[in-house]
Symmetry: C2
Subunit: 313 residues, 2 copies
């Protein structure tokens, strides 16, 4: 069945969510959760991160999850790679997409990735070269994700000009596209609108992969509204809102997939997602992680009486 | 000091919040809370409701609160009145504004107010006559609030045409303005945009007083974004998100004043509100109602490092 999607939701819970919580989800539970998310119609899942196991033991099974998820029809399998070494490990199992973060705040970059901007850009060039050694059809997309784009818990304001400068440098270093990431939950709708427009103008609309928003101050869906207004069509979200950034003190909480799907579908925008199956995937997550608090209002309130989603259910 | 405000926040916690919770807040605590809200710069507060004490003992002290709040400089003192009798009791203590709800869903109207539409419109005409007996300068504004405008937990869909019809009838019956109320948390940004535009076209922009949104499905601030887009400048909110509608099963949670103020100020829109004093008012509320769960993210996360609100602090 071919289905048109208006807005693509990229589920980052298995990566951004699970890396931020203490309990380690079992690999079999992760596979079942990924299956359930895909069965609900989620088109893209970031299944893990190729970071050293010593840093994030929660994500030690990422390679196995990529191999597993690659067998799911029509699912885009994404991973995070912190550097060339991580990318090489990722390339061995062939994800469809690799994202390398670059913190626009260099202070945060040093704390989070232990690298200067120039060092990160060197890694990007190395990854580009490694990708280009593959057959064209085998090459994953490479996204450079601009972390702390909207402000930094360490530096405070991050100049808009710096965001543009780093976007340009990431593309020049070999990224296929770049993403905007509100690592710290500082973003306002005005910034989301302005930065999206700026990047569209500077690099063309195709260069902007999507936006990653946190709900630290409850502004997540308001920021999504601003992103939609300026034509962004890919939005990251995390089931139950789990996750955030463990290296940015005080920041917590991704936007909640379930509430985002309701927002979009209620506006007549197709996500391709089935609510009942999505809520079933949440049950599965909660069962696998009984001590973790899940956020989100829609699963608790249920769908409004007489509600007609845009996506055929 | 004269201060320009771009968006007026009407705090409904003392009415909509306190009527929905079990503990009864003491009158002295309510007065202190109202003082603190006003001191923070909140321009309008709905201090209570003139309903029979047997129905809502939580609000039995409304007349006393109106008299108290009327002494606070530059504060607009609003109350809810369910009918002519309530309005007569209200008029005795001179609020600046009275709001009478009319449920666009007649099923909900019968359940909530135990009246048909025609009966509510009769009450409005009676209230109009009672107001007009006062000297011009003494007359409070009368708002007709369209409850269940965006959908009903009992009827499901509420036709947009019915919303317009009832808006027109409320104005014809003597309201000075009408408000849109998402009693059930069904509203989508598309509806908010469409209904606001429809009412602007039908009755002129001045007729639409503002919007009352719930956060039942986490969509509150996304709906605010839609309201701003079409030029609404008054938004209801409740400190800590307390409240909702006790007669609409499954519906709960007003939008959170604290997060709304952050949204607006971060977009450069002046609310006239001081964050530190607003958070102090929240502390006061929590202390007076220790068993009630307060919602909202901004007070917990704090303001972003380097944040510059639009309102001088």
């Amino acid at each position: 069945m071919v289905q048109t999607i208006d807005i693509e939701i990229s589920e980052v819970g298995p990566r951004d969510g699970l890396q931020s919580i203490e309990p380690i989800m079992q690999t079999k539970d992760k596979k079942a959760w990924i299956n359930a998310l895909a069965a609900a119609g989620v088109p893209e899942i970031e299944v893990g991160s190729f970071v050293p196991q010593s840093l994030l033991p929660q994500l030690a099974d990422t390679a196995e999850l990529v191999s597993h998820a690659r067998h799911i029809d029509s699912l885009t399998v994404a991973v995070l790679v912190p550097n060339l070494k991580g990318a090489q490990n990722a390339l061995a199992v062939r994800p469809h997409k690799m994202t390398i973060p670059l913190s626009v705040s260099e202070t945060h970059s040093l704390k989070n990735l232990r690298r200067t901007h120039d060092q990160v850009l060197d890694e990007v060039r190395g990854i580009r070269a490694a990708i280009d050694e593959l057959e064209t059809a085998e090459r994953p997309k490479l996204e450079g994700s601009l972390s702390t784009a909207f402000g930094c818990t360490l530096e405070g304001d991050v100049p808009a000009s710096k965001v543009l400068e780093m976007a340009e440098k990431l593309m020049a270093a070999g990224c296929d596209e770049i993403g905007l990431s509100d690592t710290t939950g500082f973003a306002s709708p005005r910034q989301v609108r302005d930065y999206t427009r700026n990047i569209h103008q500077l690099l063309g609309p195709k260069a902007l992969a999507g936006i990653h928003l946190h709900n630290t101050r409850g502004q997540g869906l308001a920021n999504v509204m601003a992103a939609l207004e300026v034509g962004l069509t890919t939005v990251d979200a995390s089931m139950g809102g789990i996750g955030g950034c463990p290296f940015a003190p005080g920041a917590s909480g991704n936007i909640v997939t379930e509430d985002l799907v309701f927002l979009l579908e209620s506006m007549g925008l197709k996500t391709g997602i089935n609510f009942e199956k999505l809520f079933a995937a949440r049950q599965l997550l909660q069962k696998a992680l009984p001590t973790v608090e899940l956020f989100g209002f829609t699963p608790l309130a249920g769908l409004p009486k007489g509600f007609s989603p845009a996506t055929p259910q």
